[in-house]
């Protein structure tokens, strides 16, 4: 049993951290591959990344990696920039300082403080990689600390729910953007630029090494799509996220004794089931943009349903509930 506000803060802390990690890693990968790509391919890569992060920047900014980095990392006016994400994550944790462990708080505070002393000029002068790596490592460290120091009760389930909702949506956008730009022709023998771009997509999802373990280094678009969308054992695949979302939703409805939460359980269960049983050829036969925006919409529905049921419910409904229980 926990305060609704606390659940809400834990949820958003987790989403912001996941977003910061994803942005930092994707940007880090793109900055790295842009060094190897031909200028045309590199600019395609940037477009694909910015589309995948749902960031809209002026054309002149898009053409300048330093300016893009500045916008994605340091722009305080953008709520999804890394500095905003970490500040918001910390602010949410601070609001419920009594409900997060000291280990988590100190690490998050450390990450926040380490951002404060950085500027685009400073990180650019030494190369942005160490800095970006410190961000996604910091976020991963925090995820580890959450798993190791929180009791795996309701609060932790809200953190899980948030992490995997954010992840499912971020991966869906990234796939949509990437496959949308590369077209659905899916050439079976990529040229060097294509190879780099496909490898980059895998790296952005922490999936390059796991992919090679299964498919070797033969990068085939269809296999990549299948891997990032449907692989049940890959932590950043959408299927994996959907399974985790379902499990968190089930745990939360159980622990709160919410007997009338069938609606949200149905939404989460359906998403997980669809991803478990869909075949890659069915996905390929569909319109990519429709398919991925469908996944995002369903994630948003789950978010809204959880919010309505557990966070912002009306007092009148809750009083009826209370009377029924006592």
């Amino acid at each position: 049993m926990m305060l609704s506000r606390v659940a809400d803060c834990l949820y958003w802390m987790s989403r912001y951290l996941e977003r910061a990690e994803h942005t930092a890693r994707a940007l880090d990968v793109q900055l790295n591959v842009a060094l190897d790509e031909s200028p045309w391919a590199a600019s395609m890569g940037w477009m694909s990344l910015l589309g995948g992060l749902r960031v809209d920047l002026p054309m002149e900014v898009c053409a300048d990696p330093q300016a893009v980095t500045n916008a994605l990392v340091f722009d305080k006016s953008n709520p999804s920039s890394i500095v905003s994400c970490i500040r918001n994550a910390r602010e949410n944790a601070r609001q419920v300082r009594d409900s997060v462990t000291s280990e988590l708080w100190e690490e998050l505070n450390h990450l926040h403080l380490s951002m404060q002393s950085q500027t685009i000029d400073r990180i650019w002068s030494v190369g942005p990689h160490p800095f970006l790596k410190s961000i996604h490592r910091g976020s991963q460290m925090i995820a580890g600390i959450v798993d190791a120091t929180f009791s795996h009760g309701e609060g932790w389930q809200f953190i899980q729910l948030a992490r995997y909702l954010e992840r499912a949506m971020a991966t869906a956008w990234l796939l949509e953007s990437h496959f949308g730009m590369k077209g659905t022709s899916l050439s079976e023998d990529p040229n060097p630029d294509e190879f780099i771009a496909w490898a980059a997509l895998l790296r952005m999802c922490n999936a390059y090494e796991p992919y090679c373990k299964i498919h070797t280094v033969e990068l085939r678009p269809k296999w990549i799509l299948q891997f990032l969308l449907l692989e049940p054992s890959l932590p950043r695949s959408i299927r994996f996220a959907a399974d985790q979302i379902q499990s968190a939703v089930t745990a939360i409805t159980h622990s709160t004794g919410a007997t009338d939460a069938a609606h949200v359980r149905r939404l989460a269960g359906r998403l997980a089931a669809d991803l478990s049983f869909v075949s890659i050829d069915e996905v390929l036969g569909d319109d990519f943009a429709d398919y991925f925006s469908g996944i995002v919409t369903r994630c948003v529905e789950i978010h809204n349903a959880m919010n309505d049921r557990f966070i912002t419910y009306t007092v009148a409904a809750a009083l009826r509930d209370f009377a029924a229980r006592t």
Binding site: L3, S4, Q95, E106, A318
Partner: protein, 478 residues
């Protein structure tokens, strides 16, 4: 000290050195260990201590500055030492004081015998801005008006402790006492061990025990929560810290709802009844229906639930009447009246400016006295005569004549001085001591406190809002 009109303050008591200039026995171990460590090593440890406050996010919010600016509370590494026999007196004296003040509040809001017996003038009470008419006749659960008290003590030039102020509403700072101790143990582990210092770790257990004891339901069943104004309050860190230490929920006004005179919290599993509230919100803000309608912090309708006896609040509402600075002057009489005892700890001599003779004396000696507004705290609204300009004195003269009830005056007392480590060396600074007193079925006093330091040389103001810092307080076993 450049005092106006040649006025000299009494030589302050020195915590570590006798009047003859030799070190006090209980400080000699500290002195010799510090000499062994050397200033460079101590500086290093000071830096480590500061870094650890920042890392842990032990900060307070500065008002007025850029939104949400957080600062660490300046911390001095050298501990302040209190001997066992000094502590024994303090403990007995403070227990006596809280017991009497609690009885006083109960009387005041019921039959007010102390007023009809003429011990305290009735208009002094009824003109007090913290007197709560709506508390008249309310039967507070277990008669517990005061559950958490923070008493500010100073050491007079003769070495005796005196109470400067009782904080009976929502005293703060206890988290710094606890955090300072954690840091002190890491900073000087060996010195700490060799001194034999009484533990303060059980404060949060004692606090929770008291909060349960005053519940109107069986203590074990009581759902206790802490209510905070929220993350922008300067003491938010403390609220979160205490809630976490006690394992109770940190709630805000918007987490609570009142229905049919019962208070509920909004949880993910629906509504849950609340029995005891450790409130860290001032009276004025607790219920926008009963008090300030513009308050977003409180809980609409909570006063009704409170008066119906369905929820207990600690401290009770209306306790501020007893820490009014003019009422403070009467505390020795209050102790005698209710307990038939002499006060164990004295008050600082206080002029009540409503009495014409005392007012006349004060107006003639504004350059020597400290004048304080009765309802203020935190070092605001006060005049320190010897450190003031003629213009400031004239301003206060006018204010006093306009509303004498609103002011009291006290002799300028040179707070005792103790060693502090500043800018790479040991130097003396003025300090006071806030002791936290808990009162449930019995009085519990944590052997320690928050020693506040005026970091500016010669300054007598120790409040954190006015450039004060703090240090750990070691109450010795012997």
């Amino acid at each position: 000290m450049a005092a106006a009109s040649g006025f000299q303050l009494a030589v302050p008591y020195n915590e570590s050195v006798t009047a003859e200039g030799s070190p006090r026995t209980h400080y000699s171990l500290l002195n010799s260990r510090l000499a062994e460590l050397g200033p460079e090593e101590i500086s290093k440890r000071q830096q480590a201590a500061d870094a650890s406050f920042l890392q842990q996010g032990i900060t307070f919010t500065v008002y007025g500055a850029e939104e949400g600016t957080e600062k660490i509370f300046p911390y001095d590494v050298l501990p302040r030492l209190v001997t066992a026999s000094e502590w024994d007196t303090l403990e007995r004296g403070l227990a006596q004081r809280i017991t009497a003040l609690n009885l006083f509040l109960g009387d005041l809001y019921h039959d007010a015998k102390i007023l009809s017996d003429g011990v305290i003038p009735a208009d002094l009470i009824y003109s007090c801005k913290h007197y709560r008419r709506e508390m008249r006749g309310v039967n507070v659960s277990n008669g517990a008006y005061l559950t958490v008290v923070g008493s500010d003590l100073i050491r007079m030039p003769d070495g005796k402790f005196a109470v400067l102020e009782d904080n009976l509403r929502v005293p703060s700072g206890v988290s710094y006492m606890l955090a300072n101790r954690q840091v002190a143990k890491r900073t000087f582990p060996m010195i700490f061990r060799d001194y034999g210092v009484r533990s303060i770790d059980h404060y949060s257990q004692d606090l929770l025990a008291c909060l349960r004891e005053i519940a109107s339901v069986p203590p074990a069943d009581a759902n206790v929560v802490l209510i905070t104004p929220g993350v922008y309050n300067s003491a938010y860190f403390e609220h979160a810290f205490l809630a976490r230490q006690m394992g109770i929920q940190l709630t805000e006004g918007r987490d609570l709802v009142v229905h049919d005179n019962f208070v509920y919290q909004r949880t993910t599993a629906g509504l849950r009844r609340v029995d005891v509230i450790y409130r860290r919100i001032d009276d004025d803000f607790i219920d926008p229906v009963a008090y300030r309608p513009d308050s977003m912090l409180g809980v609409p309708g909570i006063m009704n639930a409170y008066r119906a006896g369905n929820v207990v609040m600690a401290n009770a509402l209306g306790t501020g009447v007893a820490d009014d600075k003019a009422v403070y002057a009467y505390v020795p009489e209050i102790i005698k009246y209710y307990l038939q005892q002499d006060p164990i700890i004295e008050n600082v001599p206080t002029y009540v400016l409503e009495r014409p003779k005392e007012r006349e004396h004060v107006l003639q000696n504004l350059d020597k006295l400290v004048v304080k507004a009765v309802g203020e705290s935190g070092g605001y609204g006060m005049l320190i005569g010897p450190h003031s300009t003629k213009a400031q004195q004239d301003e206060f003269r006018e204010k006093i004549l306009e509303n004498p009830r609103n002011y009291i005056a006290q002799p300028t007392i040179s707070l005792s001085v103790g060693p502090c480590f500043l800018d790479g060396g040991v130097d003396s600074r003025h300090l006071d001591l806030r002791v936290y007193v808990l009162n449930g079925k019995k009085v519990r006093i944590t052997p320690g406190g928050l020693t506040r330091v005026a970091l500016k040389k010669g300054s007598l103001v120790v409040n954190s809002s006015q450039g004060g810092g703090s240090k750990d307080t070691w109450v010795l076993h012997r």
